[in-house]
Symmetry: C2
Amino acid sequence: MNSVCSPSAPKGRPREFDIDEALGQALLVFWRNGYEAASMTELTSAMGITKPSLYAAFGNKEQLFHKALDLYEREKLAYMTSALEAPTARGVAERLLRGSLEMQMSTCDPKGCLGVISAATCGAEAEPIKAEVVKRRASSEAALVKRFAEAQAAGEFPEGMTPEALTRFLFAILQGLALQGGSGATCAELSQLVETSMAVWPTQ
Amino acid sequence: MNSVCSPSAPKGRPREFDIDEALGQALLVFWRNGYEAASMTELTSAMGITKPSLYAAFGNKEQLFHKALDLYEREKLAYMTSALEAPTARGVAERLLRGSLEMQMSTCDPKGCLGVISAATCGAEAEPIKAEVVKRRASSEAALVKRFAEAQAAGEFPEGMTPEALTRFLFAILQGLALQGGSGATCAELSQLVETSMAVWPTQ
DNA sequence: ATGCCTATATACCGACCGGTATGAATAGCG
DNA sequence: CGCTATTCATACCGGTCGGTATATAGGCAT
């Protein structure tokens, strides 16, 4: 209750690892293996820390996954929010498709999408994990619906096309893209999928 | 080397369960939980048999999954082959989409697609499982490419649309459909996705 | 130097995993 | 009736799971 009260006033022994870097490594393990298949042994090994350190710093496996998911959305899904700023609905779709494609083509990151992997996983233990991922996806969808509603008001849509329908359609393609990417599809094949999707995207 | 040599000449104690019915129950468990999350305990419980009986009748967990996958393709994916008989490429796509939609809407079967679930699962233990599923998917894709090539030769495609591209595109939508179905999407939402896909499907 | 507090490392916990050894039960065959 | 062959039920195997008790090491204030 005194002194400078600096943000870094650790009274005890200082931790010997960078907590953000460790979280980044945990994210990679979850990304490659999914929640359930990522064992504590593999997590701690990749993070370079021991199990008690992990539990002291992150709580437990589920909380660690949540924090890794936060990091994933913040760093890897940034193109999603920026895509909404495209001038037209078609531009938004193109940015989303190309952003997702670029992610799948990244040589340093794992293939597939952490969200897709986690949503498809169905173990009883991972039920709350799946629910959380689905919930976050719903908020992303809502943002896209809102953006497409603006586009519709601007007269960009052909009649009969609702913002909800196009959002669901685009998300389905993005999910298929991530799934095929995680199944060993080549860059050319995924790129072809993006081009085809843009070719069929409704114009006026 | 004698007698009627009837196909049913079991010398020992006869098995007390129907092997096909047990396999059907195993399929449901794999379908709901995925390969890795389906434990032997849950499998044997659902099949109504004990572990040694399962191993005697089916080999091991992986072989059981393969047989369940055979059953799945034979019974649940029959609409895929019949869809290829539609008169036009557009008709093929529509049959595939509506067939997949109907499966997702079935109240007795689990949601999602066993193939999608198994392909997204990424545990090291399940690597051969994933490879097998991807391989079977590739053969389905090849069949669709072949059918679309006929359609292209018949002048059904607009220029620039290749059979490979449309196949990949359609499979992506089907995968998105299964994934959203497995994530709790409503019938109305999935139906909307099918309608949108048909609306954007290229015409001539 | 002495407490105090926190992080570290080792070893361990009960539960469950896939898979199996073992012996009793049940059929056909002589 | 044995004899053999197959299935059944129980109990068990080593290994791994997520999670933790315990004791030591290390930085701060006094």
